[in-house]
């Protein structure tokens, strides 16, 4: 087993991996940029190494600096987390050259399965169904029009190098093709430095269902069931759950088998995820493979009682998987929501800033994987994911009610978060009936938020409470400066307020 692992990441996933290391008795070393000196992953690690300024290109994405830190710390393995260098075959090769184990698949498997077009070709070769469309990147607009006619409109153009909805355009009919082609290729060029596009048939009300696979270096490759991630905002996952309400034992068996077949064909080891779209007829189509640990891995952990990060580390160290496919059982239901520092009143634009106070939800069935604390400033430079709140229940209904209860307990003051969005989703009848698809949330958000019914006693008391809170807050900030001092309440200045004033004083004279 490894003695020391370098975690080449930041944020909640760096914390998550460090926790697994500590539980296994492995020293956890981390890297950090100048913007992250005070970050939680640095505070919780056994060792921490500065690798450069805030921009990712010069720190978390700088292969030589990360490898240099691993060598300086004498680490025998590197866990890349997700994002940054996690799916970069060149990085995996550099690790091997430095005789450091990369905790993940081989660079060859990454190349075969991580590139969308290569993976789709492999899927077709081994008989895993794919969404009808082009196998090769399309050369020019005329070829795109021909291909679209062949599979039938509507179609989607997607960036070969893409992800996260960038370089992606929906085309309803042929007249929209040339504008979409131009926009998608220039967006792909800007986002990924690669303007190449491919084309797919656009499915009606599809659901996003993905299979977690796990393989060791002794020829074992199995799946840990599915996650459903159909609740997406502009192709970004917002809520994930396991199991999928759509699932039958037959469909799970067929999709699991297809995922394992594809991963095996690519020579895959370690943890990975095979993503599918499932249509209303329960046909499934391979979408892409993520050759790394996923953001949403906790929902699988909650329903299988397995620790995926520890399993990643064990198989990377050469151990055989300690169970067989038949021993994997799914118990209960888990739902995760991704809490972001986003301003819901400003089209969910990032809302960095200092966290003044917060409360951590707890209690039965609740898990919070995050990396924030009161007093910490959410930096401008990175993805604004604050963490993931996960609820487990004996069934989906209990998982939903636990998650709602935990969201009521959660707050982070000083920044805006998207917590309110989850309350709306969890309270909607569509979500409660699991009647969702990948474009459901975008439609849902176009409807106005439900208004409260006035007259209800609890609501009127809540309104009174809000009025009292606003009045108290107003007095604590403005005091009573005029002649009404005698009958105005004098609220004792708390330590907090004194501290805030001291800060103001420290700031003011800057001439």
């Amino acid at each position: 087993m490894f003695r020391k692992i370098l975690i080449a990441n930041r944020g909640e996933i760096a914390v998550r991996v460090a926790r697994a290391c500590k539980e296994m008795g492995i020293r956890a070393a981390v890297v950090f940029s100048d913007a992250d000196r005070a970050a939680l992953h640095v505070r919780l690690a056994d060792e921490a190494y500065r690798i450069g300024p805030a921009p990712s290109r010069e720190s978390y994405l700088a292969i030589d600096k990360v490898i240099g830190a691993a060598q300086q710390a004498r680490c025998d393995a590197i866990h890349p987390g997700y994002g940054f260098l996690a799916e970069n075959p060149a990085f995996a090769r550099e690790c091997a050259a430095a005789r450091i184990t990369f905790i993940g698949p081989s660079p060859e498997a990454m190349e075969k399965l991580g590139s969308k077009t290569a993976a789709r070709q492999l899927a077709r070769a081994v008989g895993v169904p794919t969404v009808p469309g082009t196998v090769e990147p399309i050369e020019k607009l005329d070829d795109a029009i021909d291909a679209a006619r062949k599979v039938g409109f509507p179609v989607v153009l997607k960036a070969v190098a893409g992800g996260g909805g960038k370089g992606m355009r929906l085309i309803e009919q042929e007249t929209g093709m040339s504008a979409a082609w131009r926009d998608a290729s220039s967006e792909a060029q800007n986002a990924f430095g690669d303007a190449r596009l491919y084309l797919e048939k656009y499915l009606i009300r599809p659901r996003h269902i993905e299979i977690q696979v796990l393989g060791d270096h002794h020829g074992h490759l199995l799946h840990l069931g599915e996650r459903e991630c159909s609740v997406q905002r502009r192709y970004q996952k917002v809520i994930e759950e396991a199991p999928s309400s759509l699932m039958t034992p037959e469909l799970r068996g067929a999709m699991g088998e297809a995922a394992v077949k594809l991963a095996r064909a690519g020579g895959y080891a370690n943890a990975g995820t095979v993503e599918f779209l499932v249509d209303t007829e329960h046909n499934f189509y391979f979408l892409e493979m993520n050759t790394r640990l996923q953001v949403e891995h906790p929902v699988t952990e909650m329903v299988t009682s397995l620790d995926l990060v520890k399993l990643q580390i064990r198989v990377a160290a050469g151990e055989a998987l300690p169970f067989t496919q038949d021993e994997i059982a799914v118990r209960g239901h888990a739902i995760e929501c991704r809490i972001y520092a986003e301003d819901p009143d400003n089209n969910f634009s990032p809302s960095p800033g200092k966290i003044l106070a917060r409360r951590v939800p707890a209690g039965p069935g609740i898990r919070l994987d995050d990396s924030i604390y009161a007093g910490w400033t959410v930096p401008n430079e990175y993805d604004p994911l604050l963490g993931k709140l996960i609820a487990w229940g004996a069934d989906r209904k209990e998982a939903i009610s636990r998650l709602k209860r935990a969201l009521d307990e959660y707050y982070a003051m000083g920044i805006r978060t998207n917590v309110e969005l989850f309350r709306r989703i969890l309270n909607s009848s569509d979500f409660q009936n699991a009647d969702v698809h990948t474009r459901w949330l975008d439609d849902f958000l176009r409807q106005p938020a439900s208004t409260v019914t006035p007259g209800d006693r609890e609501q009127s008391n809540a309104d009174d409470a809000a009025a009292v809170a606003l009045a108290m807050w107003h007095i604590s900030r403005n005091g009573s400066r005029d002649g009404q001092k005698a009958d105005a309440p004098s609220l004792a200045a708390s330590e907090w307020k004194l501290e805030a004033r001291r800060e103001q004083l420290n700031r003011a004279p800057r001439e």
Partner: protein, 165 residues
């Protein structure tokens, strides 16, 4: 003292007084049996008719918001003591005013200098945050006493940008 509150497009008046050390509230002319405790700045536990509420008041991003019972509302407060003049519906502040950065970002333009006479609502500084430009305006009509930032300077949320007297 008496203030006006606008909450969910509903106007309400709140009177607060202290008798025998206890706070007394009159909301819209009706006496309200409320027991508030400040937990931390902006966080209040409030008991009303045996019901327990937690209310949080936050101004992140500029606007005033209050969340209670799992819902969040935009709110406005009008203090009659400060209501000497209205301009375009906005309340004009009184006295020496610090102009605060509502968000962290970079100063891309400075629109006024020390000594300038400005109207309430005039843009003083433009801050760029996450590729969005935001104009920070003067809270009152008066004279710029100090301009504390320069173009290109990075600012944090809450930093004082200028002082208007």
């Amino acid at each position: 003292m008496k203030i006006e509150i606008k909450l969910r497009d509903l106007k309400r008046t709140v009177e607060i007084s202290r008798t025998d050390g206890a706070l007394r509230f009159v909301v819209d002319g009706r006496s309200l049996d409320a027991d508030p405790v400040e937990i931390a700045p902006g966080i209040y536990s409030i008991l009303i008719e045996g019901q327990s509420f937690e209310a949080r008041v936050d101004t992140t991003g500029g606007g005033l918001r209050v969340s209670v019972a799992g819902r969040e509302y935009a709110a406005q407060i009008v203090d009659p003591r400060q209501r000497n003049r209205y301009r375009g519906g906005a309340i004009e502040a009184e006295g020496r005013q610090q102009v605060i950065a509502p968000m962290p970002g970079k100063v891309v333009r400075v629109l006024a200098a020390a000594g300038d006479v400005v109207e309430a609502g005039k843009g003083l500084v433009v801050i760029e945050a996450m590729k969005m430009q935001n104009e920070v305006r003067s809270p009152k009509s008066g004279t710029i006493e100090r301009m504390l930032v320069a173009e290109g300077q990075a600012v944090n949320s809450g930093d004082v940008l200028a002082v208007v007297v």
